[in-house]
């Protein structure tokens, strides 16, 4: 079965109607229970910030005070800076549903008493109301909310990821029912018309990829969802899987129908235990609802999904390496063509798409290709999702229309740089991407503009850096990563990244030599040319972009042994400014993990440079009133203080 013919329309429609009605009934039953509802975000980021303790605190306090309220666990809202996030809907109080940030256990107990019992919402703790109203400013008044455009993450943080009914009640799986009434070619056409490009980094047109499998008529296709997410600083795929797994399953089933597949596989990192658990659960539920299995929505289309846990190798995100690892081998990429869509897993045509790509499918089927094209830019329609982290006020996941500028994203939506510091650079695209300086803040975010600037969309990791970061060290960090993760197949990648790393490590230790910059440049170009897969081809990007935009920092490291960002530890030193030191407070001495701070016979404070590990703890510990700890680079600038005297 390759070219599926439309099935008798009534069958999937009736089957869908049945599960939809059932889901609505359950939803209404939930909503008709009187009393307050407490929504708590319990994806990994929420749990990390203590959401489970918050939940227990609510449960305990509710029981103690005999309040009937329903606790509803949801996924991640994307506002990781505000975790644990709680939304309290307390209709009897007369207030609209309210968004509370950073709800610790203590706050949970306080809100139970004061808001749920006594009706006072405690304005000082409110971020905003979730709907427009006359009493409380709405969260939609904030740029962090109103400038986002949610397509993929629309339901994230709204529904319980463990409850398929909630997904169905918000129109989930209706796109599947519609798709099954159409010709498979029609669906591929729709995806092509939407202009959807793969969200895994390279931006390959998704419809075209699906169409390739149509040429492989003899063999059954396999659908693979790439949830390997190897970028060491990105976590949106995981969050989406944890917050709304069904939207991804739905995209995969539609893809399976369109490309003539019976088998789908989600390749998800084993290091993401919660995502694995929730997706496995979602698959079981979908089977129970006949959304997966021998007859999808009662039709004669059969499709099932299995989970394969990736074992943590960055290169396995590359599609051919991913396939190798599923076949039980070391994950080394191979030459393409043949592309996986022609010859993939066990030589069968294999469609591999990213989590977000699949998550775009249902909205496209429901709202149409034209609608999708109204979002984003002509060449890159739709939205982009970034995990914006680092030196930024409102860190977290942000979904924006393609084409928004970096400035809008970093300064308007994410609140800019904290602590009155200066913006220095933004690293986009993880180990394959690059660092862009302030001049590029007006670059629109889309596949092509970013590549042109030397960075790339890549995985969607975005790290904002302030004046305190060292571009040479950041390049070293990424090379350290790619060097370790290189599969070793291509000599240029295996040895080249090692040499690049050696040079960068020397620079950060103040052992740079004349000619190093040219050497870095040469090696980078050679590695790009001499590597087979995207890992080697892009590994030098962090070096090349930082060389292009921050050359003066490289020169300072080599010529002056100075780290302008004061981040390279060998090139910096701490000392205590005696004019400002209270001398008797001893906080610096107490906090030093290596006992490098000493008091002289004259009650002065000094730092033993031979012992100091430059952790900066004393600088944090020194009371702001004294502010006596100084950091300098080059290290030679530090004044000498003898133990005696």
């Amino acid at each position: 079965m390759k070219k599926a013919t439309p099935i008798n329309k009534d069958i999937p429609e009736q089957a869908y109607d049945r599960i939809y009605k059932q889901a609505m009934q359950r939803q209404e039953a939930f909503l008709s229970v009187p009393g307050p509802r407490i929504h708590i975000g319990t994806a990994t980021c929420g749990i990390a910030a203590g959401a489970l303790e918050t939940r227990s605190a609510f449960e305990e306090a509710l029981a103690q005070r005999n309040i009937d309220a329903q606790i509803h666990t949801v996924g991640c809202f994307g506002h990781c800076y505000a975790e644990p996030v709680v939304i309290i809907d307390h209709p009897d109080s007369g207030f609209p549903p309210i968004f509370y940030p950073e709800v610790t256990s203590a706050k949970a107990k306080m809100l139970t008493t004061l808001f749920l019992q006594e009706g006072d919402p405690r304005f000082e703790h409110i971020l905003g109301a979730t709907v427009a109203n006359e009493m409380i400013p709405s969260i939609m008044d904030f740029a962090r909310f109103n400038q986002e455009k949610r397509v993929v993450m629309e339901k994230c943080g709204q529904i319980d990821p463990e409850n398929i009914d909630e997904y169905i009640a918000s129109d989930g799986y209706s796109a599947l029912a519609k798709s099954l009434q159409r010709d498979s070619v029609e669906i591929i056409d729709l995806v092509k018309k939407s202009g959807l490009r793969g969200r895994g980094g390279a931006g390959f047109p998704t419809g075209l990829k699906w169409e390739f499998t149509q040429n492989e008529q003899d063999n059954e296709t396999i659908v693979v969802c790439n949830a390997d997410e190897g970028d060491p600083g990105a976590y949106m795929d995981r969050t989406i899987l944890e917050s709304n797994p069904h939207q991804i399953l739905e995209g995969m089933v539609i893809c399976g129908y369109a490309t003539g597949a019976r088998r789908g596989i989600i390749y998800v990192r084993a290091e993401y235990p919660l995502a694995v658990k929730l997706v496995t659960h979602a698959v079981e539920q979908a089977r129970a609802y006949s959304i997966l299995g021998q007859s999808v929505l009662n039709t004669d289309f059969a499709f099932d999904i299995e989970i394969f846990q990736g074992s943590g190798a960055f290169v396995c995100g590359e599609e051919t390496a991913l396939i190798r690892s599923m076949e039980g081998h070391r994950g080394a990429p191979r030459y393409r063509p043949p592309y996986p869509a022609q010859k993939g897993l066990h030589n069968l045509p294999t469609v591999i798409n990213n989590v977000k790509t699949f998550a775009c499918i249902a909205p496209i089927v429901n709202k149409g290709a034209q609608w999708f094209r109204t979002i984003g830019t002509k060449q890159s329609p739709g939205t982009a999702i970034f995990s914006v982290v680092g030196s930024v006020v409102h860190a977290g996941l942000v979904e924006i229309p393609m084409g928004v500028t970096l400035r809008t994203l970093i300064f308007d939506i994410c609140g800019g740089i904290p602590d009155n510091k200066q913006f220095k650079a933004v690293q986009i695209g993880g180990p394959s991407g690059g660092c862009l300086p302030a001049e590029f803040l007006d670059t629109p975010i889309d596949f092509d503009s970013l590549t042109e600037a030397g960075a790339m969309m890549g995985s969607g990791g975005m790290v904002v850096m302030d004046e305190d970061s060292c571009m040479v060290d950041v390049a070293r960090f990424f090379l350290d990563f790619t060097q370790k993760e290189s599969c070793g197949k291509c000599t240029f990648c295996r040895i080249g990244t090692h040499q690049l790393l050696n040079i960068l490590a020397r620079l950060t230790r103040g052992e740079g030599r004349e000619g190093d910059i040219d050497l870095l440049d040469d090696f980078s170009v050679d590695i790009k040319n001499g590597s087979l897969c995207g890992l080697g081809k892009t590994a030098p990007n962090p070096v090349l972009t930082s060389l292009r935009y921050f050359k003066d920092e490289y020169i300072a490291h080599i010529n002056e042994k100075c780290c302008p960002g004061m981040a390279c530890r060998t090139l910096t030193a701490f000392y205590i400014e005696l004019d400002q030191c209270a001398r008797g407070c001893d906080l610096c001495e107490a906090c030093c993990p290596v006992e490098a701070v000493f008091t002289t016979s004259n009650r002065k404070k000094g730092i033993d440079q031979a012992l100091c590990v430059k952790c900066g703890e004393c600088q944090v510990a020194c009371p702001p009133d004294y502010d006596a700890v100084r950091k300098v680079s080059p290290a030679a600038l530090v004044p000498v203080i003898e133990h005696t005297g």
Binding site: T44, C45, I47, A48, A49, C80, Y81, E83, G230, D231, P232, G233, A234, Y235, R238, T239, A270, E271, Y272, F308, Q309, S311, G312, A313, S325, M326, E327, G328, H329, R330, G331, H346, S387, V389, G390, S391, A395, G396, Q427, G430, G461, V463, M465, S469, V474, F477, F478, F481, C487, C591, P593, V594, V613, C615, G616, E617, V620, A621
Partner: protein, 177 residues
């Protein structure tokens, strides 16, 4: 002590052997099988690798070659309190490496190693998915955000005390039984 660990390990290996039968003898199952074995034993000792090789009809070196390729697999037993320090991008730029160093210094082991008493092990991981809390360390199942070098000592101490307390309780329980 050593004997009981060994006996324990042999029993777990037997368990894993039984579970093997639920997997089809296909090379494609190699990684899921290794994951299952590691879940049972917490690491992959060489007898386990040999067992998997025999089951799948592969050479032991082939199995070892695949297993060592992936970061997930470990060949040394982890500590009872494994500590993972995040060195993902966000944590690194906020000083995650200093946190790691502090653990290494405090526990007198290098990253990737286990203390001789098998109480602690330290390893680096890449992004645990809560960059907004950077720098982050994970002790056992508990995540600690906004780590500081000075918090390391307290954390290690607390874990030691909790383990001691648990042991004492277990002792008392077995004595009263």
């Amino acid at each position: 002590m050593k004997e009981t660990t060994d006996a324990n390990e042999a029993a777990l290996l037997q368990d894993a052997r039984k579970r093997l039968e639920t997997f089809a003898k296909e090379r494609g199952n190699l990684i899921p099988i290794l994951q299952m074995v590691q879940e049972k034993l917490a690491y992959l000792p060489s007898p386990a690798l040999a067992m998997v090789a025999e089951y799948l009809g592969m050479t032991a070196s082939d199995v070892y070659g695949v297993a060592t390729f992936y970061n997930q697999f470990r060949f040394q037993p982890p500590g009872r309190n494994p500590i993972k320090v995040c060195l993902g991008t966000a944590c690194y730029v906020k000083g995650g490496d200093i946190i790691l160093e502090n653990f290494e210094r405090k526990l007198k082991i290098r990253e990737g190693d286990t203390t001789p008493d098998r109480e602690f092990s330290v390893e680096r991981v890449a992004c645990v998915g809560c960059c907004a809390l950077a720098p982050v360390a994970v002790a056992g199942e508990t995540l600690h955000g906004h780590m500081q070098p000075s918090k390391v000592e307290g954390l290690v101490l607390r874990i030691r005390m909790e383990t001691q307390k648990k042991e004492k309780e277990a002792d008392e329980k077995s004595n009263s039984d």
